[in-house]
Symmetry: C2
Subunit: 266 residues, 2 copies
């Protein structure tokens, strides 16, 4: 939908695992050609974009590789990058450049699709050591075409960064809902807007998030342990109104600075 | 503002610590009489509502008590109840019934006031053992008049409940912002809507929240420690996609059930 809007001249071919999904995509006009067979969509493509779960990518890559035109580029939208780059770079060589558009919501499925999803979002690209400069430039240009601001990180830097700003917050939101339910289910009857906003992301699709958290488990472990240690330090401040106020004031200033400096993030 | 809208016939007298705040309230027409001297507003009142920080209540109660009419009732809007009831019940006896309207936002000050703030919100009343039944009924009727749904809890039950659904989420939101900043300030440039919603409450007034968290430190300690233990258990699930998916699916179902059953909460 986004490519249709921002680059109507680009031909779009779509592969889907299920025939019903392929039919629905064709019915909505988001692809010129759609099929459950990679051989009907991959040959002739300039850019192949993997939009499947991270765990499904290696097997699909093996099917796609023999069908690719010699100059074709490959990218993906997986939320974890080190395992994806490690699996796909040996298959596609320097023509593969990983991507992670930081956009989406707790909803999933084609019904939740939006043509402006990537506009003003940050898209991270994560070239491996062997990535060809032309491939990096082309993948960058693709996300910029859809309105993203592009940042480049190594796959490992990417995984540590999203563990902090995306995966840890998701795990904490789910843990908070589950913890309150198990401690005192009636407490949910006393929730205000704060609890609802703080836990919104916990409604996200469990299967997708289970894969993200386990694929990124090394960075997640570091993040969870360091965060738990920080919370223990803060707990010790509960006897000291002055110190806890200092901590809260610093956090409020940091939160406000973030909002002000990034008004267009989606 | 809320009382003006839902009960225009009720006379309103306001005490303020600062002359400038008293003048502003009079200028906005939210009170018939306003003064920095309790002696000018307390005598003749049917209901006295303490809207000051929890730590300021005992001293103010001593000034108010000799001015009260014999039948007058007293309540408050403090976010922590056991310390308030322990301090004010000895002063006012069975005519005091603590309250906590679960409404508000990260904003503060008269500019953020809304006449419909309490509408469809839950207001908790926390009668102590000596509270007079007529006083409990009148304080309940007061919050219902403003559109709240009223629930009754003991002061201790209240403090444990709000530790779970309000104070712990606040501490975690502030800790998350502060943790990400200290680990990798650049990571904030990669935030999506999830991080922003999860940490919104961290922008709240630090002084007020420092007092809330320290006044409720016993319930907070229990909540923080139990939550940290739960997070450690979840961390161990990171090796097991099936178990982590089960946990995430349960949290998503609980979160969705909360949203559906409580559509009008503010």
């Amino acid at each position: 939908m986004s490519l249709r809007r921002f680059s109507p001249e680009t031909g779009i071919r779509l592969w889907g695992r299920r025939a019903a999904a392929v039919e629905e995509a064709l019915g909505r006009g988001v692809a010129d050609v759609a099929s459950t067979d990679p051989a009907e969509v991959v040959p002739g493509a300039d850019l192949v974009l993997f939009c499947v779960p991270v765990g499904a990518m290696p097997a699909l890559a093996e099917r796609v590789a023999p069908l690719l035109d010699p100059g074709a580029l490959v990218t993906d939208v997986g939320s974890v990058k080190a395992p994806v780059v490690a699996a796909l770079e040996p298959v596609f060589g320097g023509r593969f450049v990983g991507s992670h558009p930081m956009a989406g919501s707790e909803k999933s499925g084609i019904g939740a699709a939006r043509a402006d999803l990537f506009r003003d979002a940050v898209s991270i690209i994560t070239p491996g050591r062997g990535a060809l400069p032309d491939a990096v430039a082309a993948v960058r240009a693709f996300w910029e075409l859809l309105g993203s601001r592009v940042r480049e990180l190594s796959p490992e830097e990417h995984d540590r960064t999203v563990a902090l700003v995306s995966h840890l917050p998701h795990l904490l939101a789910a843990a908070l809902v589950d913890f309150v339910c198990s401690e005192n289910r009636d407490a949910l009857n006393f929730c205000g807007a704060g609890f609802r906003d703080t836990t919104r992301v916990a409604s996200g699709p469990a299967g997708m998030w289970a894969e993200i958290l386990t694929e990124n488990r090394e960075a997640m472990r570091d993040a969870v342990r360091s965060f738990a240690a920080r919370v223990s330090e803060i707990e010790r401040l509960l006897d000291s109104p002055g110190e806890i106020e200092e901590f809260l004031a610093r956090a409020a200033a940091e939160r406000d600075a973030m909002g002000v400096s990034r008004p267009n993030f989606s």
